[in-house]
Assembly symmetry: C2
Homo-oligomer: 345 residues x 2
DNA sequence: TCAAAATTTGAAATCGCTTTGAATGGCTTT
DNA sequence: AAAGCCATTCAAAGCGATTTCAAATTTTGA
């Protein structure tokens, strides 16, 4: 009683006086079915709201119709991830592919999660994000033979499908620009050590500095997750140095908020006493153009990346060779009020 | 070739020289299997990494082993939702239940998404969030006989399982506190009209004001999604009024950031010229205690709510009557530096 | 010691779909 | 008019698990 009895293929077939075979074929667009019957079937299916039972369909076809996303801990399910997710989702929805998201607390749990996904065949592919320089998860997925697309890059033995933004170039240009403005002590608030993107950013930063014969002061480089609080503390500590940094490169908009507070608290003015260029992943609810002062940024929509990665997933599932699936996106440098000439003296 | 051939129950059974029946029973803890065999089976399954094929299991049992979350548009997949999601996920992971998240662009699409979930039987239950006062989605889910738990409250004909925070009381206390401090023109930056939580907050606000014989000035009440930019514009406009508001009630931490900027841009000081109490959903990357000045808040962890809702879902799936699943969580009022006495005359 | 009961195992049906291989009937073709 | 072809349709065999019902084995009881 009360059990929600959805309509089955069998019911629909009986209703139409046809065999399940024909109805199935009609709905799936096979050629060997009469045009008139096909219309009749489609109409009835639509009218009666028939949709194949997902589990049965998956069992019969061997396709899971879902991609997996495993998110580690609180820090990964932050604003970046939710933007990314919604980019992925917008494309997946159009393809009738589900997103299976799991959360895990540790690296070990994450590996276990992939093993489970593989063994129980819940997904056709997964999306891997924030890779380390030589990512163990990527190797595991390779072993498990689960197709995946990487958001970022990593260096393992095999070719891997990936999409990344050009972090190195972004930071090189941002740093160069600050150098052009006369800044010499430029602080870098980077992501956690070990992540590929953080390494790439540091390379860009170093390249720009050494191109002018400057050396990197380790006291001006910080590595951490992108939260306002940690950024605040780091920036605060850096601003206490003498000579103090005159410019900051902030790893995210959250970081920028923290740096901004530290600057204010030190009694300094952003855009004149201290400059800042922040990386902007384009959050709809936090607009660099509407800050005060407006924020100079290196900009790249993480949401668009998500959408594109979803497309790439479909391509590799359709058989495109992994070695052909590489995209390196350029990053815009948008100059606004927060970056100005270095103060005299 | 290359097809990833996961181990099946049949393989495992053959490997052990047992029937599928016995192996299945052993693994699922049925009583009628010899303790020695059970151990042997468990060991082999563990060693060989056997996990039942999810689709087959679902088809056979009729349970989907998944809960659905349909997120509408960009604004809903914001920081609030990702915190909430990670709360839900942490519990679901422990129960081996998947989270199926879909994104949709419009209300119509959202309804269609639920119909699809129902017809294809992809989920055992769904979680519904940000309800309107009389929520059409809730009615639909009722019709479709999909069990659900509501994050928030709504008023439809049937009893509904829900968990909500006491927004009315939170705003009444916050408003009263500001009144105690001598504020008379208090602005409310509320959520979008039509949402139950926004209505509840407004009721709390009104109650506190009318208790002191004050009336509500519509020019001091704004309704919108919680982004820093919109909050900035609204606060800016309100601060241009004369007499200007001396205090703000901000609907979220994002809103607070926007209001803060508007206050600064008007050349005013937060905590002395203008006070603010913001609602804090407790984001790990945006801490009210570490702001400058520190932010007074009405606080309630949206992540914890997510976890608890996941538990409630499991309870109703286990048969607990909907009418017994109601939780109204109190909201903490945390006073810090951003709320101070009203400036003199 | 032997029937009856309890324990343990297995064969086969089932879940709802896709897909293979065969069957049906109407038209050409010779 | 018989043979051969198409165009359609269908019956039945999977997919990989659970579960019903029956069978085999062991234990118990008198």
């Amino acid at each position: 009683m009360g059990r929600n009895a959805a309509m089955r293929l069998k019911d629909l077939a009986e209703h139409l006086g046809l065999s399940q075979t024909t109805v199935s074929r009609a709905l799936n667009g096979y050629p060997e079915v009469n045009e008139a019957t096909r219309r009749r079937v489609a109409e009835a299916a639509n009218l009666l709201g028939y949709r194949p039972n997902a589990s049965a369909l998956r069992l019969a076809t061997g396709r899971a119709g879902a991609v997996g996303l495993v998110l580690r801990g609180a820090d990964e399910l932050g604003p970046h991830m939710s933007e990314f997710l919604s980019g992925v989702g917008s494309y997946m929805a159009s393809q009738e592919i589900d997103m299976l998201v799991s959360t895990v607390a540790s690296h070990q749990e994450e590996l276990a999660a992939y093993r489970r996904l593989a063994a129980s065949q819940k997904v056709d592919a997964v999306i891997l994000h924030s890779p380390t320089i030589s990512d163990e998860r990527a190797e595991l997925l390779m072993d498990l033979k689960i197709p995946f697309v990487l958001h970022g890059r990593t260096n393992i033995g095999h070719p891997v499908a990936w999409l990344d933004i050009d972090n190195t170039s972004a930071l090189e240009r941002a740093t160069s620009h600050l150098l052009d403005l006369g800044h010499r002590r430029i602080a870098l608030l980077n992501g956690v050590k070990g992540r590929t993107f953080a390494q790439h950013r540091e390379i860009g930063y170093r390249t720009a500095l050494t191109a002018r014969g400057l050396t990197v002061d380790p006291a001006l480089v910080g590595n951490s997750v992108f939260t306002d609080e940690i950024a605040f503390r780091m920036a605060q500590a850096m601003l206490e140095q003498r000579p103090r940094p005159t410019a900051f490169l902030a790893g995210s908009m959250m970081t920028a908020l923290g740096v901004f507070r530290a600057i204010r608290q030190a009694g300094l003015e952003l855009g004149s006493d201290v400059s800042m260029i922040a990386h902007d992943d384009v959050f709809p609810y936090l607009n660099a153009d509407n800050m005060y002062p407006t924020m100079s940024t290196t900009r790249s929509s993480i949401r668009q990346a998500g959408t594109r990665i979803a497309e790439l997933i479909m391509q590799i599932l359709a058989g495109k060779p992994l070695a052909d699936v590489h995209e390196l996106w350029p990053v815009e440098l948008v100059l606004r009020e927060s970056s100005g000439p270095a103060p005299k003296g």
